[in-house]
Protein backbone atom coordinates (compact mmCIF):
# COMPACT_ATOMS: atom_id res chain seq x y z
CA UNK A 1 0.00 0.00 0.00
CA UNK A 2 2.24 2.81 -1.23
CA UNK A 3 -0.67 5.23 -1.59
CA UNK A 4 -1.10 7.80 1.20
CA UNK A 5 -3.70 6.70 3.72
CA UNK A 6 -7.21 8.17 3.50
CA UNK A 7 -7.32 8.43 7.29
CA UNK A 8 -4.39 8.51 9.66
CA UNK A 9 -4.81 8.80 13.43
CA UNK A 10 -1.76 9.27 15.65
CA UNK A 11 -1.64 9.22 19.47
CA UNK A 12 -5.19 10.53 19.84
CA UNK A 13 -6.01 11.45 23.43
CA UNK A 14 -9.29 12.84 24.70
CA UNK A 15 -9.96 13.67 28.33
CA UNK A 16 -13.22 14.78 29.92
CA UNK A 17 -12.06 16.28 33.19
CA UNK A 18 -10.02 13.58 34.95
CA UNK A 19 -11.48 10.80 32.83
CA UNK A 20 -9.45 9.72 29.80
CA UNK A 21 -11.81 8.30 27.18
CA UNK A 22 -9.33 7.93 24.33
CA UNK A 23 -5.77 7.16 25.34
CA UNK A 24 -3.19 7.16 22.58
CA UNK A 25 -5.22 5.75 19.68
CA UNK A 26 -3.26 5.25 16.45
CA UNK A 27 -4.32 3.58 13.21
CA UNK A 28 -4.45 4.19 9.47
CA UNK A 29 -7.08 3.39 6.84
CA UNK A 30 -6.20 3.09 3.17
CA UNK A 31 -8.37 3.57 0.10
CA UNK A 32 -10.87 0.79 -0.45
CA UNK A 33 -10.51 -0.63 3.07
CA UNK A 34 -13.33 -1.21 5.52
CA UNK A 35 -12.11 -0.65 9.05
CA UNK A 36 -14.42 -1.95 11.74
CA UNK A 37 -14.09 -0.40 15.19
CA UNK A 38 -15.38 -2.71 17.93
CA UNK A 39 -15.62 -2.47 21.68
CA UNK A 40 -18.03 -2.67 24.57
CA UNK A 41 -20.61 -0.02 25.38
CA UNK A 42 -19.03 3.15 26.72
CA UNK A 43 -15.50 2.27 25.55
CA UNK A 44 -15.28 5.42 23.42
CA UNK A 45 -16.15 4.16 19.91
CA UNK A 46 -18.67 6.90 19.13
CA UNK A 47 -16.41 9.53 20.75
CA UNK A 48 -13.60 8.36 18.47
CA UNK A 49 -15.91 8.65 15.45
CA UNK A 50 -16.92 12.19 16.46
CA UNK A 51 -13.24 13.14 16.53
CA UNK A 52 -12.68 11.61 13.11
CA UNK A 53 -15.43 13.77 11.54
CA UNK A 54 -14.23 16.94 13.27
CA UNK A 55 -17.21 17.45 15.57
CA UNK A 56 -15.00 17.06 18.67
CA UNK A 57 -11.48 18.34 19.17
CA UNK A 58 -8.93 16.01 20.82
CA UNK A 59 -6.91 16.88 23.92
CA UNK A 60 -3.80 15.90 21.94
CA UNK A 61 -2.81 13.85 18.92
CA UNK A 62 -3.27 14.08 15.19
CA UNK A 63 -6.03 13.15 12.72
CA UNK A 64 -5.22 13.42 9.02
CA UNK A 65 -8.11 13.03 6.61
CA UNK A 66 -7.22 12.87 2.90
CA UNK A 67 -3.75 14.06 3.93
CA UNK A 68 -5.07 17.15 5.74
CA UNK A 69 -4.62 17.65 9.48
CA UNK A 70 -8.15 18.37 10.77
CA UNK A 71 -7.59 18.80 14.51
CA UNK A 72 -6.87 22.53 14.29
CA UNK A 73 -8.65 23.27 11.02
CA UNK A 74 -10.94 26.34 10.77
CA UNK A 75 -14.57 25.77 9.77
CA UNK A 76 -14.10 26.79 6.10
CA UNK A 77 -11.30 24.34 5.19
CA UNK A 78 -12.88 21.70 7.47
CA UNK A 79 -16.11 21.96 5.45
CA UNK A 80 -14.10 21.35 2.26
CA UNK A 81 -12.81 18.09 3.81
CA UNK A 82 -16.29 17.18 5.06
CA UNK A 83 -17.74 17.39 1.55
CA UNK A 84 -15.54 14.41 0.65
CA UNK A 85 -17.03 12.04 3.22
CA UNK A 86 -20.48 10.93 4.35
CA UNK A 87 -21.62 9.88 7.77
CA UNK A 88 -24.39 7.62 8.95
CA UNK A 89 -25.40 8.49 12.52
CA UNK A 90 -26.50 5.90 15.05
CA UNK A 91 -30.01 7.37 15.18
CA UNK A 92 -30.10 8.36 11.51
CA UNK A 93 -30.15 12.06 12.59
CA UNK A 94 -32.67 12.97 9.90
CA UNK A 95 -34.11 16.46 9.90
CA UNK A 96 -37.63 15.91 11.21
CA UNK A 97 -39.04 18.93 9.38
CA UNK A 98 -38.01 17.56 5.96
CA UNK A 99 -39.40 14.60 4.07
CA UNK A 100 -37.31 11.49 3.39
CA UNK A 101 -36.65 12.75 -0.15
CA UNK A 102 -35.68 16.23 1.05
CA UNK A 103 -33.33 14.72 3.63
CA UNK A 104 -31.51 12.68 0.99
CA UNK A 105 -31.49 15.67 -1.38
CA UNK A 106 -30.09 18.03 1.27
CA UNK A 107 -26.35 17.54 0.55
CA UNK A 108 -27.07 17.70 -3.20
CA UNK A 109 -29.07 20.93 -2.88
CA UNK A 110 -26.49 22.53 -0.61
CA UNK A 111 -23.32 21.44 -2.39
CA UNK A 112 -24.20 19.76 -5.66
CA UNK A 113 -25.37 22.72 -7.82
CA UNK A 114 -27.53 20.30 -9.78
CA UNK A 115 -30.93 21.05 -11.28
CA UNK A 116 -34.08 19.78 -9.60
CA UNK A 117 -34.67 16.95 -12.11
CA UNK A 118 -31.21 15.47 -11.58
CA UNK A 119 -31.51 15.79 -7.79
CA UNK A 120 -34.86 14.00 -7.91
CA UNK A 121 -33.30 11.19 -9.94
CA UNK A 122 -30.30 10.84 -7.60
CA UNK A 123 -32.61 10.76 -4.56
CA UNK A 124 -34.61 7.91 -6.14
CA UNK A 125 -31.40 6.02 -6.96
CA UNK A 126 -30.04 6.35 -3.42
CA UNK A 127 -33.34 5.33 -1.84
CA UNK A 128 -33.48 2.32 -4.15
CA UNK A 129 -30.00 1.32 -2.93
CA UNK A 130 -31.32 1.05 0.64
CA UNK A 131 -34.64 -0.54 -0.32
CA UNK A 132 -36.85 2.50 0.27
CA UNK A 133 -38.22 3.23 -3.18
CA UNK A 134 -41.45 5.21 -2.98
CA UNK A 135 -40.84 6.62 0.51
CA UNK A 136 -39.73 10.07 -0.71
CA UNK A 137 -42.80 11.89 0.59
CA UNK A 138 -42.90 10.35 4.06
CA UNK A 139 -41.67 12.32 7.06
CA UNK A 140 -39.10 10.68 9.40
CA UNK A 141 -41.76 10.46 12.13
CA UNK A 142 -43.91 8.33 9.80
CA UNK A 143 -41.33 5.57 9.24
CA UNK A 144 -39.69 3.01 11.54
CA UNK A 145 -36.31 3.40 13.27
CA UNK A 146 -34.66 0.94 10.91
CA UNK A 147 -36.04 2.78 7.89
CA UNK A 148 -34.78 6.08 9.30
CA UNK A 149 -31.34 4.56 9.58
CA UNK A 150 -31.48 3.43 5.94
CA UNK A 151 -32.54 6.94 4.88
CA UNK A 152 -29.54 8.21 6.87
CA UNK A 153 -27.34 5.85 4.86
CA UNK A 154 -28.89 7.04 1.57
CA UNK A 155 -28.21 10.64 2.64
CA UNK A 156 -24.62 9.78 3.59
CA UNK A 157 -24.13 8.30 0.10
CA UNK A 158 -25.88 11.15 -1.74
CA UNK A 159 -22.68 12.89 -2.85
CA UNK A 160 -20.89 9.59 -3.67
CA UNK A 161 -18.34 10.15 -0.89
CA UNK A 162 -14.78 8.84 -0.98
CA UNK A 163 -15.09 7.83 2.66
CA UNK A 164 -18.10 6.64 4.66
CA UNK A 165 -18.29 6.77 8.46
CA UNK A 166 -21.02 4.58 9.94
CA UNK A 167 -22.06 4.48 13.57
CA UNK A 168 -23.87 1.19 14.26
CA UNK A 169 -25.24 0.88 10.68
CA UNK A 170 -27.14 -2.35 11.29
CA UNK A 171 -28.54 -1.92 14.80
CA UNK A 172 -32.33 -2.03 14.66
CA UNK A 173 -32.39 -3.66 11.22
CA UNK A 174 -33.85 -7.09 10.54
CA UNK A 175 -31.39 -9.82 9.41
CA UNK A 176 -32.32 -9.48 5.73
CA UNK A 177 -31.90 -5.71 5.71
CA UNK A 178 -28.65 -6.11 7.69
CA UNK A 179 -27.36 -8.35 4.89
CA UNK A 180 -28.50 -5.79 2.28
CA UNK A 181 -26.67 -2.95 4.06
CA UNK A 182 -23.55 -5.12 4.52
CA UNK A 183 -23.62 -6.08 0.86
CA UNK A 184 -24.00 -2.44 -0.12
CA UNK A 185 -20.99 -1.46 2.00
CA UNK A 186 -18.96 -4.32 0.54
CA UNK A 187 -19.92 -3.38 -3.02
CA UNK A 188 -19.08 0.29 -2.48
CA UNK A 189 -15.68 -0.49 -0.97
CA UNK A 190 -14.46 -3.50 -2.93
CA UNK A 191 -15.90 -2.65 -6.35
CA UNK A 192 -16.09 1.15 -6.36
CA UNK A 193 -13.08 1.93 -4.19
CA UNK A 194 -14.90 3.77 -1.43
CA UNK A 195 -13.33 3.61 2.04
CA UNK A 196 -15.44 2.83 5.10
CA UNK A 197 -14.97 3.22 8.84
CA UNK A 198 -17.70 1.34 10.68
CA UNK A 199 -18.42 1.29 14.39
CA UNK A 200 -20.45 -1.78 15.26
CA UNK A 201 -21.41 -4.29 17.93
CA UNK A 202 -22.85 -6.71 15.40
CA UNK A 203 -20.15 -9.39 15.05
CA UNK A 204 -21.77 -11.19 12.10
CA UNK A 205 -21.93 -7.95 10.19
CA UNK A 206 -18.42 -6.90 11.32
CA UNK A 207 -16.77 -10.09 10.05
CA UNK A 208 -18.78 -9.90 6.83
CA UNK A 209 -17.68 -6.40 5.82
CA UNK A 210 -14.31 -5.79 7.50
CA UNK A 211 -10.99 -5.81 5.73
CA UNK A 212 -9.38 -4.77 9.01
CA UNK A 213 -10.64 -4.50 12.58
CA UNK A 214 -9.60 -2.74 15.75
CA UNK A 215 -10.98 -3.27 19.21
CA UNK A 216 -11.01 -0.68 21.97
CA UNK A 217 -10.47 -1.83 25.53
CA UNK A 218 -12.54 -1.35 28.65
CA UNK A 219 -11.75 -1.02 32.35
CA UNK A 220 -8.04 -0.50 32.99
CA UNK A 221 -7.36 -0.52 29.25
CA UNK A 222 -10.11 2.03 28.50
CA UNK A 223 -9.45 4.11 25.43
CA UNK A 224 -6.60 2.01 24.02
CA UNK A 225 -6.53 -0.35 21.06
CA UNK A 226 -6.24 -3.87 22.48
CA UNK A 227 -6.39 -5.73 19.16
CA UNK A 228 -5.85 -4.84 15.53
CA UNK A 229 -5.74 -6.96 12.41
CA UNK A 230 -7.61 -8.72 9.64
CA UNK A 231 -10.87 -10.54 10.50
CA UNK A 232 -8.97 -13.86 10.54
CA UNK A 233 -6.32 -12.45 12.87
CA UNK A 234 -9.00 -11.10 15.22
CA UNK A 235 -10.81 -14.47 15.23
CA UNK A 236 -7.67 -16.16 16.50
CA UNK A 237 -6.42 -13.27 18.64
CA UNK A 238 -4.90 -14.49 21.91
CA UNK A 239 -6.39 -11.71 24.06
CA UNK A 240 -9.18 -13.21 26.23
CA UNK A 241 -11.15 -9.94 26.20
CA UNK A 242 -11.29 -10.04 22.40
CA UNK A 243 -12.41 -13.67 22.42
CA UNK A 244 -15.08 -12.97 25.02
CA UNK A 245 -16.36 -10.04 22.95
CA UNK A 246 -16.50 -11.77 19.57
CA UNK A 247 -18.12 -14.88 21.06
CA UNK A 248 -20.57 -12.79 23.07
CA UNK A 249 -19.93 -14.60 26.36
CA UNK A 250 -21.21 -13.28 29.67
CA UNK A 251 -18.31 -14.69 31.70
CA UNK A 252 -14.73 -13.77 31.04
CA UNK A 253 -12.13 -11.10 31.69
CA UNK A 254 -14.62 -8.26 31.14
CA UNK A 255 -16.32 -8.21 34.55
CA UNK A 256 -19.90 -7.42 33.61
CA UNK A 257 -21.30 -9.90 36.18
CA UNK A 258 -20.24 -8.70 39.59
CA UNK A 259 -19.19 -11.03 42.37
CA UNK A 260 -21.84 -12.07 44.88
CA UNK A 261 -19.23 -11.69 47.67
CA UNK A 262 -19.47 -7.97 48.11
CA UNK A 263 -23.14 -7.65 47.12
CA UNK A 264 -24.20 -6.29 50.52
CA UNK A 265 -21.22 -3.95 50.59
CA UNK A 266 -22.14 -2.57 47.15
CA UNK A 267 -25.72 -2.02 48.25
CA UNK A 268 -25.02 -0.49 51.65
CA UNK A 269 -21.66 1.09 50.93
CA UNK A 270 -20.13 -0.37 54.16
CA UNK A 271 -17.67 -3.22 54.50
CA UNK A 272 -19.10 -6.40 56.04
CA UNK A 273 -17.18 -9.06 57.99
CA UNK A 274 -15.07 -11.34 55.80
CA UNK A 275 -17.08 -14.39 54.65
CA UNK A 276 -16.00 -17.74 55.94
CA UNK A 277 -16.18 -19.30 52.49
CA UNK A 278 -15.66 -17.59 49.19
CA UNK A 279 -18.44 -18.10 46.72
CA UNK A 280 -19.01 -16.96 43.16
Amino acid sequence: MSEAPVLEVRDLVRRFGRRTVLNGISFTVHKGETLVIMGGSGCGKSTLLRHLVGVMRPSSGSIRLFGEEITGLASGPLDAVRRRFGMLFQSGALLQSLTVGENVALPLVEHGKLDAGVIDLVVKMKLELVGLTGFEHFYPAEISGGMRKRVGLARALALDPELLFSDEPTSGLDPIMTAVVDELTTTLTRKLGMTAVVVTHDMTSAFRIASRMIMLGAGKRQGTIIAEGTPDAIRTHPCPEVQQFIRGEADGPVPLRLSKDDYIERLLGTPRPAPKTAEL
Binding site: D79, M87, F89, S91, A93, L95, Q96, E110
Partner: protein
Protein backbone atom coordinates in the same frame (compact mmCIF):
# COMPACT_ATOMS: atom_id res chain seq x y z
CA UNK B 1 -22.74 35.91 27.02
CA UNK B 2 -19.71 35.09 24.86
CA UNK B 3 -21.73 32.47 22.95
CA UNK B 4 -24.60 34.96 22.50
CA UNK B 5 -22.33 37.69 21.11
CA UNK B 6 -20.60 35.18 18.87
CA UNK B 7 -23.97 34.02 17.52
CA UNK B 8 -24.97 37.65 16.80
CA UNK B 9 -21.77 38.21 14.85
CA UNK B 10 -22.23 34.98 12.90
CA UNK B 11 -25.82 35.91 12.01
CA UNK B 12 -24.67 39.33 10.78
CA UNK B 13 -21.93 37.63 8.74
CA UNK B 14 -24.37 35.23 7.05
CA UNK B 15 -26.93 37.99 6.39
CA UNK B 16 -24.68 40.86 5.33
CA UNK B 17 -21.39 39.45 4.05
CA UNK B 18 -21.77 35.82 2.96
CA UNK B 19 -24.39 36.50 0.21
CA UNK B 20 -21.75 38.64 -1.59
CA UNK B 21 -19.50 35.58 -1.77
CA UNK B 22 -22.25 33.44 -3.27
CA UNK B 23 -23.27 31.73 -0.01
CA UNK B 24 -26.90 32.74 0.33
CA UNK B 25 -29.19 31.83 3.18
CA UNK B 26 -32.48 30.09 2.38
CA UNK B 27 -34.86 32.89 1.33
CA UNK B 28 -37.80 30.51 0.82
CA UNK B 29 -37.37 29.28 4.39
CA UNK B 30 -37.43 32.90 5.65
CA UNK B 31 -40.86 33.43 4.06
CA UNK B 32 -42.12 30.04 5.22
CA UNK B 33 -41.08 30.80 8.79
CA UNK B 34 -42.52 34.34 8.57
CA UNK B 35 -45.88 32.98 7.45
CA UNK B 36 -45.84 30.33 10.16
CA UNK B 37 -44.93 32.75 12.96
CA UNK B 38 -47.31 35.52 11.82
CA UNK B 39 -50.30 33.28 11.11
CA UNK B 40 -49.99 31.26 14.30
CA UNK B 41 -49.48 34.32 16.52
CA UNK B 42 -52.12 36.50 14.83
CA UNK B 43 -55.26 35.25 16.68
CA UNK B 44 -53.62 35.81 20.06
CA UNK B 45 -52.19 39.16 18.99
CA UNK B 46 -55.59 40.31 17.69
CA UNK B 47 -57.43 39.26 20.83
CA UNK B 48 -54.85 40.84 23.14
CA UNK B 49 -54.64 44.08 21.15
CA UNK B 50 -58.43 44.47 20.94
CA UNK B 51 -58.79 43.72 24.64
CA UNK B 52 -56.08 46.24 25.60
CA UNK B 53 -57.50 48.99 23.37
CA UNK B 54 -61.00 48.30 24.71
CA UNK B 55 -60.02 48.32 28.42
CA UNK B 56 -57.69 51.29 27.97
CA UNK B 57 -60.56 53.31 26.49
CA UNK B 58 -62.94 52.25 29.28
CA UNK B 59 -60.49 53.06 32.08
CA UNK B 60 -59.46 56.40 30.60
CA UNK B 61 -63.10 57.33 29.87
CA UNK B 62 -64.03 56.75 33.52
CA UNK B 63 -61.26 59.04 34.78
CA UNK B 64 -61.42 61.66 32.03
CA UNK B 65 -65.20 61.96 32.42
CA UNK B 66 -64.63 63.39 35.92
CA UNK B 67 -62.58 66.18 34.33
CA UNK B 68 -64.92 66.57 31.36
CA UNK B 69 -62.23 65.36 29.02
CA UNK B 70 -63.92 62.36 27.35
CA UNK B 71 -62.97 63.73 23.94
CA UNK B 72 -59.32 62.91 24.74
CA UNK B 73 -59.93 59.16 25.01
CA UNK B 74 -59.01 58.48 21.32
CA UNK B 75 -55.79 60.51 21.74
CA UNK B 76 -54.78 58.51 24.79
CA UNK B 77 -55.62 55.15 23.23
CA UNK B 78 -53.81 55.81 19.96
CA UNK B 79 -50.66 57.32 21.49
CA UNK B 80 -50.39 54.63 24.21
CA UNK B 81 -50.83 51.82 21.74
CA UNK B 82 -48.56 53.15 19.02
CA UNK B 83 -45.71 54.18 21.30
CA UNK B 84 -45.69 51.58 24.06
CA UNK B 85 -48.44 49.06 24.58
CA UNK B 86 -48.65 47.78 21.01
CA UNK B 87 -44.96 46.99 20.48
CA UNK B 88 -44.38 45.72 24.03
CA UNK B 89 -47.47 43.52 24.43
CA UNK B 90 -47.13 42.00 20.97
CA UNK B 91 -43.44 41.34 21.63
CA UNK B 92 -44.42 39.61 24.88
CA UNK B 93 -46.78 37.34 22.93
CA UNK B 94 -44.23 36.58 20.21
CA UNK B 95 -41.41 35.91 22.71
CA UNK B 96 -43.70 33.63 24.74
CA UNK B 97 -45.13 31.83 21.74
CA UNK B 98 -42.68 31.87 18.86
CA UNK B 99 -39.43 32.41 20.81
CA UNK B 100 -40.12 29.44 23.04
CA UNK B 101 -41.12 27.33 20.01
CA UNK B 102 -37.83 28.20 18.25
CA UNK B 103 -35.76 27.41 21.37
CA UNK B 104 -37.56 24.08 21.84
CA UNK B 105 -37.26 23.14 18.15
CA UNK B 106 -33.53 23.93 17.91
CA UNK B 107 -32.92 22.30 21.31
CA UNK B 108 -34.64 19.10 20.18
CA UNK B 109 -32.61 19.16 16.97
CA UNK B 110 -29.45 19.53 19.04
CA UNK B 111 -30.15 16.57 21.32
CA UNK B 112 -31.29 14.35 18.43
CA UNK B 113 -27.96 14.95 16.60
CA UNK B 114 -29.63 16.86 13.74
CA UNK B 115 -27.43 19.93 14.28
CA UNK B 116 -24.35 17.71 14.40
CA UNK B 117 -25.48 16.00 11.18
CA UNK B 118 -25.71 19.40 9.47
CA UNK B 119 -22.18 20.26 10.59
CA UNK B 120 -20.85 16.94 9.32
CA UNK B 121 -22.58 17.57 5.97
CA UNK B 122 -20.67 20.90 5.84
CA UNK B 123 -23.94 22.81 6.21
CA UNK B 124 -23.53 25.70 8.65
CA UNK B 125 -26.33 25.48 11.26
CA UNK B 126 -26.37 29.27 11.71
CA UNK B 127 -26.98 29.82 8.00
CA UNK B 128 -29.38 26.90 7.67
CA UNK B 129 -31.42 27.16 10.89
CA UNK B 130 -30.79 30.42 12.74
CA UNK B 131 -30.75 33.06 9.99
CA UNK B 132 -34.17 32.13 8.50
CA UNK B 133 -35.79 32.16 11.95
CA UNK B 134 -34.26 35.49 13.00
CA UNK B 135 -35.12 37.16 9.70
CA UNK B 136 -38.64 35.72 9.89
CA UNK B 137 -39.10 37.31 13.31
CA UNK B 138 -37.72 40.61 11.96
CA UNK B 139 -40.47 40.54 9.33
CA UNK B 140 -43.28 39.03 11.39
CA UNK B 141 -43.05 41.08 14.59
CA UNK B 142 -43.25 44.58 12.99
CA UNK B 143 -46.08 43.29 10.78
CA UNK B 144 -47.95 41.92 13.79
CA UNK B 145 -47.26 45.16 15.68
CA UNK B 146 -48.81 47.33 12.94
CA UNK B 147 -51.81 44.98 12.69
CA UNK B 148 -52.10 44.83 16.49
CA UNK B 149 -52.01 48.64 16.72
CA UNK B 150 -54.89 48.88 14.23
CA UNK B 151 -56.91 46.24 16.09
CA UNK B 152 -56.18 47.89 19.46
CA UNK B 153 -57.35 51.26 18.17
CA UNK B 154 -60.46 49.48 16.85
CA UNK B 155 -61.01 48.27 20.43
CA UNK B 156 -60.80 51.87 21.64
CA UNK B 157 -63.15 52.97 18.86
CA UNK B 158 -65.70 50.35 20.00
CA UNK B 159 -65.89 51.95 23.44
CA UNK B 160 -65.97 55.52 22.06
CA UNK B 161 -68.58 54.72 19.41
CA UNK B 162 -70.97 52.61 21.42
CA UNK B 163 -70.50 53.79 25.03
CA UNK B 164 -69.37 57.43 24.67
CA UNK B 165 -71.60 58.29 21.67
CA UNK B 166 -68.62 59.52 19.68
CA UNK B 167 -68.90 59.45 15.87
CA UNK B 168 -66.39 57.47 13.81
CA UNK B 169 -65.00 60.58 12.01
CA UNK B 170 -64.76 62.29 15.39
CA UNK B 171 -62.79 59.34 16.81
CA UNK B 172 -60.45 59.25 13.82
CA UNK B 173 -59.80 63.00 13.84
CA UNK B 174 -59.20 62.95 17.58
CA UNK B 175 -56.86 59.94 17.35
CA UNK B 176 -54.86 61.57 14.54
CA UNK B 177 -54.68 64.90 16.37
CA UNK B 178 -52.26 63.58 18.99
CA UNK B 179 -50.59 60.66 17.25
CA UNK B 180 -48.26 61.45 14.43
CA UNK B 181 -46.25 59.32 12.02
CA UNK B 182 -43.26 59.21 14.39
CA UNK B 183 -45.38 57.43 17.01
CA UNK B 184 -46.04 54.67 14.49
CA UNK B 185 -42.44 54.58 13.26
CA UNK B 186 -40.99 54.51 16.78
CA UNK B 187 -43.23 51.54 17.61
CA UNK B 188 -42.14 49.73 14.47
CA UNK B 189 -38.45 50.46 15.19
CA UNK B 190 -38.96 49.09 18.70
CA UNK B 191 -40.59 45.96 17.31
CA UNK B 192 -37.61 45.38 14.99
CA UNK B 193 -35.22 45.59 17.98
CA UNK B 194 -37.50 43.30 20.03
CA UNK B 195 -37.62 40.82 17.14
CA UNK B 196 -33.82 40.69 16.99
CA UNK B 197 -33.68 40.10 20.74
CA UNK B 198 -36.39 37.41 20.59
CA UNK B 199 -34.75 35.57 17.68
CA UNK B 200 -31.16 35.65 18.88
CA UNK B 201 -31.99 34.78 22.50
CA UNK B 202 -34.21 31.86 21.42
CA UNK B 203 -31.70 30.49 18.91
CA UNK B 204 -28.81 30.84 21.36
CA UNK B 205 -30.79 29.00 24.03
CA UNK B 206 -31.80 26.25 21.57
CA UNK B 207 -28.32 25.66 20.16
CA UNK B 208 -26.83 25.68 23.66
CA UNK B 209 -28.96 22.78 24.90
CA UNK B 210 -27.21 19.98 26.73
CA UNK B 211 -28.68 17.09 28.67
CA UNK B 212 -31.62 15.70 26.71
CA UNK B 213 -35.29 16.51 27.29
CA UNK B 214 -34.64 18.29 30.61
CA UNK B 215 -32.11 20.51 28.85
CA UNK B 216 -34.68 21.41 26.18
CA UNK B 217 -37.14 22.42 28.92
CA UNK B 218 -34.54 24.55 30.67
CA UNK B 219 -33.52 26.24 27.40
CA UNK B 220 -37.13 27.04 26.54
CA UNK B 221 -37.77 28.64 29.93
CA UNK B 222 -34.45 30.47 29.75
CA UNK B 223 -35.23 31.85 26.30
CA UNK B 224 -38.61 33.26 27.44
CA UNK B 225 -37.35 34.76 30.73
CA UNK B 226 -34.16 36.23 29.23
CA UNK B 227 -35.98 37.41 26.11
CA UNK B 228 -38.67 39.22 28.12
CA UNK B 229 -36.18 40.88 30.47
CA UNK B 230 -33.92 41.97 27.62
CA UNK B 231 -36.92 43.28 25.68
CA UNK B 232 -38.17 45.35 28.64
CA UNK B 233 -34.71 46.85 29.21
CA UNK B 234 -34.39 47.63 25.50
CA UNK B 235 -37.85 49.23 25.57
CA UNK B 236 -36.85 51.57 28.40
CA UNK B 237 -33.66 52.54 26.57
CA UNK B 238 -35.45 53.14 23.27
CA UNK B 239 -38.21 55.18 24.94
CA UNK B 240 -35.55 57.33 26.57
CA UNK B 241 -33.85 57.83 23.20
CA UNK B 242 -37.03 58.52 21.26
CA UNK B 243 -39.18 60.56 23.63
CA UNK B 244 -37.18 62.01 26.51
CA UNK B 245 -35.70 65.32 25.45
CA UNK B 246 -33.63 67.42 27.77
Amino acid sequence: MKAYLSLNLRILYWVLLAPWTGRMFRISEVFRQTATIALRAFPMVALTAFSVGFTLAMQSATELRKLGGEMFVPDLVSVSLLRELGPVLIAVIVIGRSGSAIAAELGTMKVSEEVEALEVMAINPVRFLVVPRCLALLLALPLLTVLGNCIGIAGGWTVCRFFLDMTTPGFVLSALRSADAWDLYSGVIKSVVFAWIAGTVACNAGLGVEGGAAGVGRATTHSVVTGLLAMLVANAVLTAIFFVHA
